[in-house]
Symmetry: C2
Subunit: 213 residues, 2 copies
């Protein structure tokens, strides 16, 4: 399956496949797309701000936010696909023979190696989605009031994506024997969580204030 | 635009349109699809539980959860489309003539009427997405440990959807003069928020405990 394939499915087809007992797509791809929607909303708010007279003095900054959001969105769309690919490799590893001791050892090593990749993809999703939040902070006071709710939605979805991706990392870490990798990855997850809730609450506070102005 | 149209777009096309300065899709459709992904994950967990020997004694209950989740998912997919349609009607109302006093009064009444619909669609999205959360509670202890992270992702996304849809309701309420409708709708929003955070935290606590078992 190429990167194009998942992203070129219709929304209906994707959601029907998600709801089914098919092994993919699953929670990893969902996190990728919810993050991509968050980044897409940031891009939309930028697109609706660029070229407007009243925001001419911040246009350069908004153009930079737009470029960053589009980069993050495309990374998240690719990671939604990467999650499916690594799941396919994991299923293949579990199907390796284990009749002899040598086979069993090879199979176990393969599972450990691919499970590590299966943790790295959602870790990357969490990191990329977390990078959407500061863009929301920058925009919350730098866009038309009528689209400030979209900045809030972007921040809420980015946070849910980070939290969701963290669960997907943790379920894979639980099966890993490489204690150094597990410890280092847990430290990275903690770094991602620190300050995230507070930053999103700060955005929500500005958004609510501007909505009710 | 029919209900089919948005749902039959490819994910790429939808995300590209979202990121653009096109008036739709926006935060309302994003909330509809994030809610649909949450419901779809619940259905997936049910699909992977039904027919398994170890869960035979709860199969009837899981089948009922599956039917409810699929109903909620299809409602959320239709609401993502409904949000686009109501936005189209709102744009049309703003374009009505206002050269004479009579025209201006007609235009104002039309805007007020459609803005009310523009608040009702995300209110419905919030209500339907909130109904996904109790299904996650039921499943959190009634599925295989290896898919419990998907239950957590569903709960996190359902909560983000409710919170996002509430912002979309509020931005529309801010422009409404019908104080009774505004007050009643605000009361419904409060009902939706009460207990939501606690219930999702309860699910997360079970999910994390089972992941680290």
């Amino acid at each position: 399956m190429t990167t194009e394939m998942l992203n070129e499915q219709t929304i209906s087809t994707f959601l029907d496949a998600l709801a089914s007992s098919a092994p993919t797509p699953g929670g990893g791809s969902v996190a990728g797309f919810s993050g991509a929607m968050a980044a897409g909303l940031v891009s939309m708010v930028c697109s609706l701000t660029i070229g407007k007279k009243q925001f001419a003095d911040i246009e350069e900054e908004v153009r930079s936010i737009h470029a960053q959001a589009e980069e993050l969105r495309h990374q998240l769309q690719a990671l939604a696909q990467a999650d499916i690919e690594v799941f396919g490799r994991l299923s293949a590893a579990y199907k390796l023979p284990r009749t002899t001791d040598a086979d069993a050892a090879t199979r176990k090593a393969a599972i450990q190696q691919v499970t590590r990749s299966a943790a790295e993809v959602p870790l990357r999703i969490a990191q990329v989605a977390a990078a959407v939040v500061p863009l929301c902070t920058s925009l919350s006071n730098r866009c038309s009031r009528i689209i400030v709710s979209d900045v809030g939605v972007a921040a809420l979805l980015a946070r849910a994506t980070v939290q969701s991706a963290i669960l997907n990392v943790e379920i894979n870490l639980a099966g890993l024997e490489d204690t150094i990798f597990v410890r280092e990855t847990r430290a990275q997850l903690e770094d991602l969580s620190v300050g995230l809730g507070e930053e999103v609450e700060g955005i929500m506070s500005i958004v609510r204030q501007r909505i009710n102005q």
